[in-house]
């Protein structure tokens, strides 16, 4: 609630989504008598997302990536900072953002069609229009012929397709996806990634995608924001300039893909304090002003490795 007072309601920005100085602190209590401990889930996160961009947030569990997504969705309130969409501050959930969760969260009492139409009902779209829209999106995710089925009759991959169709159906400009493919098997997962890229190219939505899989992040994203835990900080944003359209077969096999994947892996391996310590150590060994510059060119893992040739 403090957010609304210390942040402007509207700011001028080119970005579709602007994340400005988000900090999120939880107060944890192990038992009733203990004093509350502070747990910093997110610390001063700044991020800009262009319209139509595919941004992936990657990081280990506990780095606050899901918290950040909840804040973007308007489901959680940050301790300080603010999120702007089209320059307008986010104060709560709304239909301009669609959300896809890892657990599918399909309503078991609704058929595929009625699940897809859920957001449309909230949006108060008349019934005859709803059918046409749900038909379109059920086809888009490749589930034609399954509209009348209940979720318990579907496989995990099909369920997630329904969840994507549901999030797209009410036409949000931004799609927030929280580890959507984490629960399906590897084969289905790669198919869904292919499909998602196709859908993204067809619809032009801005997508923010959370995952803990580096491979998935590199394959999907225009940019990958690397988050590190304790406290959750934005380590670096890596540009993925792999050519599009990307396909499972040729993209994943390319040398560039492997190189970027390794780079992100290294970023995740080394917490900033590790790097700083090793840099300090090196400074003692080699006091020349170029040393630091030279080290920046090296992969981080090589800097801290005791066997690395310097």
């Amino acid at each position: 609630m403090a957010r609304a007072e210390d942040s402007p309601v509207r700011i001028d920005t080119e970005a579709k989504i602007l994340v400005k100085g988000i900090t999120s602190v939880y107060h944890l209590k192990k038992n009733r008598t203990e004093q509350a401990r502070e747990f910093i889930a997110l610390k001063d996160i700044n991020l800009e997302v262009r319209k139509g961009e595919f941004l992936v947030l990657v990081g280990p569990s506990g780095c606050g990536k899901s918290t950040l997504l909840d804040i973007l969705a308007g489901l959680a309130v940050p301790t300080s900072g603010a999120v702007y969409i089209d320059g307008k501050i986010v104060t709560g959930p709304a239909l301009d953002r669609g959300i896809v969760l890892q657990g599918y969260a399909l309503f078991p009492w609704r058929t595929v069609r009625r699940n897809v139409e859920f957001g449309l009902e909230i949006k108060k779209v008349p019934k005859r229009d709803r059918t046409a829209i749900s038909d379109h999106f059920i086809n888009l995710v490749g589930l034609d012929g399954s509209a009348h089925r209940y979720p318990h009759e579907l496989s995990g991959g099909m369920k997630q397709r329904v969840a994507i169709a549901r999030a797209l159906a009410y036409d949000p400009e931004v799609l927030l996806m929280d580890e959507p493919f984490a629960a399906v098997d590897a084969q289905t997962r790669e198919n869904l990634q292919d499909e998602l890229l196709r859908i993204w190219e067809a619809t032009g939505k801005t997508i923010i995608f959370v995952t803990h899989s580096i491979e998935e992040a590199v394959f999907l994203g225009d940019r990958v924001a690397v988050l590190t835990p304790n406290p959750g900080t934005l380590r670096e944003i890596v540009n993925i300039d792999l050519p599009r359209p990307r396909h499972n077969s040729d993209t994943r096999g390319s040398a560039e893909f492997g190189w970027i994947r390794r780079k992100i892996w290294e970023l995740l391996q080394n917490s900033p304090s590790d790097v700083k310590r090793s840099l300090d150590k090196l400074k003692l060994q080699n006091a020349s002003p170029d040393a630091k510059h030279h080290l920046n060119l090296l992969p981080v893992a090589d800097i801290i490795s005791p066997t690395a040739s310097l």
């Binding site: 969705a73 308007g74 489901l75 709560g92 959930p93 709304a94 239909l95 953002r97 959300i99 969760l101 657990g103 969260a105 309503f107 078991p108 009492w109 609704r110 859920f118 957001g119 009902e121 909230i122 209940y150 979720p151 318990h152 009410y170």
Partner: protein, 275 residues
């Protein structure tokens, strides 16, 4: 069914002799469920007539049936059944009307109050309605209200408990998703909480209705001038043994029908429930 059909097809390929054997085996298999009942009916009819058991205390089934026809003809049987059913449904309906909304309010809106009240509610729920019957008679007299109260009390607690459990058991992701679309509270209730809690609530309704019917019969035996329980009591006092058996059988049948109807209603209202 399908497996039977395939067996049948195989049988036609075989020679004529074994075909009939297989047919017989299939029929036997299909009738397996009913053999026990058929043997019981047969024994019931034959044993008293042959003097294996005392027909005074164990009248043959045909005389029970005869008694049933007699009562049906003069209309008293219909009256007793109707009275018992009316009491059951009235009590059940009132319990539903009170328990389901309060369950939603408690479970969905006041979790702390619910926690505070749970031990008390558990205690009240454990009180056998039948043991309160003398009190009900004391407060409400021997009339309909006492019988209504016993049904109401028996149904109320299971339905209230399962409603609270049902609301609190609704998958948090469903709520999160509905909230992410900016759905209002009333919409959340109608579109997420009610359908999400319905399967659990139905368990409570089934338990409540079954207990309530049993309690009603007992209550009618103590203090009533009509109803199936009264019929049992009256027959025993007047020593009309076939009628006593008749009433007991009808009570069993009605109990089965009641349970089956709730099952059907559940299947109708909750088509998504996996078997």
């Amino acid at each position: 069914m399908t497996s039977d059909d395939s067996v049948d097809k195989e049988a036609t390929i075989d020679s004529g002799g074994t075909k009939w054997g297989v047919r017989l085996a299939i029929t036997t298999n299909n009738l397996m469920d009913y053999y026990g009942v058929a043997i019981l009916i047969l024994l019931w009819e034959v044993a008293p007539r042959l003097g294996w058991i005392d027909s005074q205390f164990f009248p043959p089934l045909s005389s029970i049936y005869g008694e049933g026809c007699k009562l049906w003809a003069d209309g008293t049987l219909t009256v007793h059944i109707a009275v018992s059913l009316k009491r059951t449904f009235l009590g059940l309906l009132c319990a539903l009307v009170l328990a389901i909304p309060s369950g939603f309010v408690l479970g969905g809106w006041f979790p702390r109050l619910t926690r505070f009240l749970t031990p008390l509610l558990n205690l009240l729920g454990q009180i056998n309605a039948f043991s309160l019957f003398p009190l009900f008679v004391l407060f409400f007299g021997i009339g309909e209200l006492a019988k209504f109260s016993i049904i109401f009390w028996s149904c109320l607690w299971p339905i209230l408990f399962t409603t609270i459990a049902g609301v609190q058991g609704v998958e948090p992701l469903f709520v999160k998703l509905a909230r992410s679309m900016g759905g209002s509270r009333s919409l959340l209730l109608v579109k997420v909480l009610i359908p999400g809690a319905l399967p659990t609530i139905f368990t409570g309704i089934r338990i409540g209705a079954t207990i309530a019917f049993l309690m009603l019969i007992a209550a009618e035996m103590i203090g009533a001038g009509s109803g199936l329980g009264w019929l049992v009591h009256n027959s025993s006092v007047n020593y009309i043994i076939p009628r006593l058996y008749l009433a007991a059988l009808i009570i069993a049948l009605l109990g089965m029908i009641l349970n089956y109807s709730i099952h059907r209603l559940e299947a109708l209202l909750i088509p998504w429930k996996t078997s």
